[in-house]
Symmetry: C2
Subunit: 477 residues, 2 copies
Amino acid sequence: MNQENSASYPKYKQIIDFMKEKIARGEWPIGSKIPSQRKLASMFDVNRSTVITALEELTADGLIEGKMGKGTIVINNTWTLLATTPPDWNVHVKSGMHRPSQAMVQDINESESNSNLIQLSKGELSPDIFPKDKMKYAMEKVAKNMEVLGYEEPKGYFPLRKELSAYMKTIKIESSPDSILIVSGALQALQLISIGLLQKNSSVLLEKPSYLYSLHVFQSAGMKLKGLSMDEEGIKVTAIKRADPQEGQAILYTNPCFHNPTGTLMSQKRRYDLLKECEEHQLPIIEDDLYRELWLNKQPPSPLKALDKNGHVLYVSSLSKTLSPGLRIGWIVGPEPVIERLADIKMQTDYGSSSLSQRVAAEWFENGLYQLHMETVRTELRTRRKVMLNALETYAEDIATWTNPEGGFFIWVHIQPSISMKSLYSRALKRGILLNSGSIYAQETGSYLRLSYAYASLPDIDRSIKILAELIRELQV
Amino acid sequence: MNQENSASYPKYKQIIDFMKEKIARGEWPIGSKIPSQRKLASMFDVNRSTVITALEELTADGLIEGKMGKGTIVINNTWTLLATTPPDWNVHVKSGMHRPSQAMVQDINESESNSNLIQLSKGELSPDIFPKDKMKYAMEKVAKNMEVLGYEEPKGYFPLRKELSAYMKTIKIESSPDSILIVSGALQALQLISIGLLQKNSSVLLEKPSYLYSLHVFQSAGMKLKGLSMDEEGIKVTAIKRADPQEGQAILYTNPCFHNPTGTLMSQKRRYDLLKECEEHQLPIIEDDLYRELWLNKQPPSPLKALDKNGHVLYVSSLSKTLSPGLRIGWIVGPEPVIERLADIKMQTDYGSSSLSQRVAAEWFENGLYQLHMETVRTELRTRRKVMLNALETYAEDIATWTNPEGGFFIWVHIQPSISMKSLYSRALKRGILLNSGSIYAQETGSYLRLSYAYASLPDIDRSIKILAELIRELQV
Ligand SMILES: Cc1ncc(COP(=O)(O)O)c(C=O)c1O
Ligand SMILES: Cc1ncc(COP(=O)(O)O)c(C=O)c1O
């Protein structure tokens, strides 16, 4: 609870820290009255409005309460205090974050549950595409064959691992069920890798921009993100040479199929070159391949993992983008000792993923339901992509350029001349449209937007692009 | 990857570290031949058997391989190496652990999936008690009303939180759905608290013995466990005064209902005294109340959380012990800012728990199914407890004393005169019986056993206690 003394540390935060410390130490016990606003103002040599800002924050945190005729009283300590004084690592993360993006991500998370908004931000299939009937069928089959739902084996429900092992063969990856770990989504995969395999101060090399910039997962475990530049074939291999870190471990994270947020598909040649370069630099690879099945033109090149002879690649995927994020089912494929270590950490974290979800997921693979469903999804997404591209051509040709994705959910839009993305974001929100600014995915960048055609309805896609174009034009003036 | 130079660090480990470093640095690339056994033996001034031990471990880890006529070749690096050279925090945990218990816990975890063994170790309801029909019914209802399974709200599926809020009222806890966070089991609750609320070097005060000693969750996050002695009413309050840590944060973890492993039920008076003492010492409390509904004589006293006026207590529970561990559904109740912070961490960890599990769990509460099921469970457990206590009286009266639990799963057996628990464990295993030695739950302790009457069949309970008594007698000679 050390206070930073640097001049840049805002005064109202200093007041908050001071008061938290008093409460934490028990000097101001529950029920006690805190000094008056006037007194606090003179103690810190600030005007009363600053004191009020501090008191408001402490009130919102549930630590103090203004009581009529009694002044301001301490009403809580302990847990509430811990929650509002997070441990070091988190302070570290927060202070490392770009403030505006941070606030924007939180905002978007909240707004995403508002079903009145047109969600151009959502990296999730539209409810219209959700395969209710097939899911019902899978659940009923699991119900019919209901067995005991006990704690599962550390690596996960064996029949699901067997199905996944067979499925992986279809994308050219040879993996026995023993080299597969079931996890609760790809995010948990990254989380387990970060705490289970990497040392603090490791570097994570990754595409720039990247989905990972919108998360805390590696930074929270004390790692640094190092963005590598991309071209239309994916990460530039030359960028790795330059980034070769002199100290500490490093790994490379890549999202080679229909990259989030740019939609880029890594070419076959680039995959070979990248793997070779990484092997030379002893740079292990996390291949996040969540969007692979969402190809819309033709099947993508084989995964890096399929080319990998030396256990260099940890392969991560999940059902979140293709079937349902609510199942929370993902998997990691890698060398057995690595999978065993991660399984151990997973057991220490949550004793395994939901048995129900695992059984239902196995059902999806068992009778080819999953591949059938993927055909529907691809058909639907092709239409959506077309509608969004058409709308962009019709309304935005003179104010922006964009990618023409070969699959996945996203169109990456470059607005030119550039505008204030914050203004665009809030004006769009006022018009009922939720946007993801490119700044969420990289710490510095121009005027970029990640548009998702996966979620909103077709008329909404058309309508919202039209509005967006208007707003951009206003801001470009 | 620093090597310890202390004399106590075994030679074969030094060899392993040396070789890992060579591989990690790329000095010994994949495909290269490592020095001969003779050469290694003379380099480290050891005899060849020590070198062989090291090579065997590296082979098992998948880093090297003996090839006929080619010597020993490096076959892997990167991920495998990371997995076998875990980050600092874990080394720290491992080195802090009691070796024998550690090995024993792993052994037990493996043996628990062997269905030929009589599992006196398992803290889990017998498959015979699993409510197949009711679970089927709940699943089919969820299937029938199938909606989209998207990412859930950060705190979890609202209808489940509403049901839990109503359920909590029945045990005298007032909590709005907003002050409840759904998690993937109680273990995840502890995990989130450890990484989200506590500073490194915090102390966790807890019962001694305690279930927590069998886990890494707090130690992995850099915390120390400080055991407090117990009597038949629970944690001794005087022990808290003595343990009052001078530096760093501290919290108290308690498992007041049918404590794992001793079965102790904390008395009402002790609950008041404990809460008061903790409030005085500004010691926040985690109340792990997983076993509450498994009362067998009469309803237990209200939770500490029900007495808590100041947000001092974080309440943790789950469906693992009462219904099904495979659902992976637990919950945390606490002050809203705390719940919000934990929800944020949960989102960063795995984007929420399985929607399927959350919906099925809600179904269990919605129509009173859960309470009906609890009556069946209690009836079944009463019989099981009786059979085990009878068996102990019949076969073991002269060689041990034990508790008579008022609920939960466990009988805590004190073997007198004391014997080698390791020998008992392995002899029992040879006879087909899996045991949990008391040493798993505390770092030093006499000859204690945690026997579970929840899992094995009635005839197996009787038969295995008879065999156990024989084995103990042999060892006491
Ligand atoms: C590239 C990428 N990786 C991982 C995830 C996490 O997905 P989940 O944990 O739902 O599987 C996402 C979700 O947006 C993503 O876009
Ligand atoms: C006291 C106690 N707390 C927590 C747990 C973890 O249970 P779960 O994560 O399955 O809810 C257990 C399981 O054995 C336990 O005995």
